[in-house]
């Protein structure tokens, strides 16, 4: 099934008991876009991202990735998606290289050594390849998570606050690599609290607050409609307006 959208989110609602954390969210992310999903803490960014990745089951609505429904055609949808989660995690039994091999295997990819070596090289993990995750620093773990998300060469890459707690050097290298992937045609979805990052990198921006999308437009339009103010100012204006209206 082909679709003009890399990610097509239609009327997604998510309730935990009586609390509605996503309210009728509709978003369409075109193929090849560098998309920024911004919002304050607790706005619903991670819930939305985890719903796209199939880690959260929506109460209603539908999501497709590259034209594949994340529930009905979950295998194809998951093959098209790479998720870098926000939380750092651990794996005490396997070294980094074997973890990447195992993850390739889950995606039915045999003999992926060449790409794994490239990932280790780009993520500057060569020296850590035989180490276990528990032996790595937070920044190193973040690199491993990025490598894990890319091991099956997904068309759509979601980065949930990938630079949180990461030093400036890795941040620069990471963005250089992500820009390369974007140039190669990958669709990138980024959530970040560093608004200058979003302003520099993203070509389309959506802002979510209290589970609702309060704006979604191209970065150029967004800046133009707000007299070319900095994204940070626009973000604060929109969030404050939303809070006042409530």
């Amino acid at each position: 099934m082909s679709s003009e959208f890399a990610v097509d989110i239609q009327k997604i609602t998510k309730k935990y008991g009586k609390e509605e954390v996503l309210k009728d969210v509709t978003l369409q992310i075109s193929k090849g876009q560098f998309f920024g999903l911004l919002g304050p803490n607790g706005a619903g960014k991670s819930t939305l991202i985890n719903t796209i990745a199939g880690l959260v089951r929506p109460t209603s609505g539908s999501i497709s990735i590259m034209g594949q429904d994340v529930i009905k055609n979950y295998r194809e949808a998951r093959r098209a998606l790479g998720l870098v989660p926000q939380e750092l995690l651990d794996e005490p039994f396997f070294d980094i290289e074997n973890l990447l091999k195992l993850q390739s295997g889950y995606f039915s990819i045999k003999n992926n050594d060449e790409w794994i070596n490239e990932l280790l090289e780009v993520m500057e993990l060569k020296k850590q390849a035989k180490k276990k995750m528990s032996m790595l620093s937070g920044g190193m773990k973040r690199r491993v998570l990025i490598a894990m998300a890319l091991v099956h060469k997904p068309s759509v890459i979601i980065l949930d606050e990938p630079t949180a707690g990461v030093d400036i050097n890795l941040r620069r290298n990471l963005w250089k690599f992500i820009k390369q992937l974007h140039k190669l045609g990958h669709t990138i979805i980024l959530t970040t609290h560093y608004l200058e990052e979003a302003e520099t990198l993203c070509d389309y921006i959506a802002i979510i607050d209290c589970g609702k999308i309060i704006t979604q437009q191209s970065k150029t339009e967004l800046l133009k409609n707000h007299n070319n103010k900095q994204l940070e100012h626009i973000f604060m204006e929109l969030i404050d307006r939303e809070t006042d209206e409530e």
Binding site: Y16, N50, A53, G54, L55, V56, R57, Y74, R75, E76, R78, R79, L81, L83, P85, E87, L88, L89, D90, E91, P92, F93, F94, L99, L102, Q103, G105, Y106, F107, S108, K110, M148
Partner: protein
């Protein structure tokens, strides 16, 4: 079906427990050996436990073997799942194109391999104490396989259900351990008062131990076919329950 993906998850499950084989294979063997050391000197003196022409120590071996299989198959899948949840690496599996059935298959198969290896190890060390001539070798293998399958699925259920190690320890200490000790490992249910005999019939592990005793010694408390049917029913129900939990994303996909 994602055969290669399932195979890799199974491989991961096996390599995980082999990487800590002292704890996962040797420890249960030492446990069984200690029981044999304790009971070995009294073996010939113990009579009237319900089995004719069998030394008490030899009578114990199928029970000890199955007890080790049950506890270790359960521990394998339950600890693997709860560790994956607590360390957060369960996400690697959940974002992969693996179906609920494939995940269940890999976890249960890993538990079966551990169950079989532990059974083999206990059998070999049991041979140092007694000459064990297995009466029905194929049935013995099938019973170890099926019982590991039941416990692998049960461990997966417990691992998904448990939020903390404490929950899992509670399940192991208050459910699995009493059921294994009260399943006829150390006694024949023929000698129990009627009420306790009837209660034993509600214990799933009783059927596994009794059937294994028949396959190894050629004697059992109840008809082997009843036990086999009971084990098959437990296998189907535990696998269905584990699959349902994975399919609905219970405590995994929020």
């Amino acid at each position: 079906m994602n055969f290669y993906g399932t195979l890799m998850l199974f491989y991961k499950e096996v390599m995980r427990f082999l990487s800590v084989f002292m704890q996962t294979i040797l420890a249960p063997v030492i446990n069984a050996v200690l029981f044999l050391i304790v009971f070995y000197p009294f073996g010939e003196q113990m009579t009237g436990f319900g089995f004719s022409n069998v030394d008490y120590g030899l009578f114990l071996i199928p029970g000890l073997l199955m007890m080790s299989v049950l506890q270790n198959a359960f521990a394998n899948s339950s600890s693997s799942m709860i560790q994956a949840k607590n360390y957060g690496n369960v996400i690697f599996m959940l974002v992969a194109p693996l179906s609920s059935f494939e995940i269940m298959l890999a976890f249960v198969a890993g538990a079966i391999v551990r169950g079989i290896l532990v059974a083999l190890a206990v059998y070999l060390v049991g041979g140092l104490f007694y000459e064990i001539n297995i009466v029905h070798p194929l049935a013995t293998f099938a019973l170890v396989f099926l019982s590991s399958l039941v416990m692998g699925a049960m461990g997966l259920i417990a691992g998904i259900w448990a939020d903390r190690y404490d929950h899992l320890a509670g399940f192991q200490n208050f459910v699995i351990l009493p059921l294994t000790f009260l399943s006829g490992v150390f006694y024949s249910t023929q000698n129990l008062p009627e009420i306790w005999y009837q209660i034993s019939l509600w214990n799933p592990f009783f059927y596994m131990i009794d059937a294994l005793r028949f396959s190894i010694l050629g004697q059992s408390d109840i008809d082997i076919f009843i036990s086999i049917w009971a084990i098959i029913c437990f296998a189907i129900s535990t696998c269905l329950c584990a699959w349902w939990m994975l399919h609905t994303g219970y405590r995994l996909r929020h």
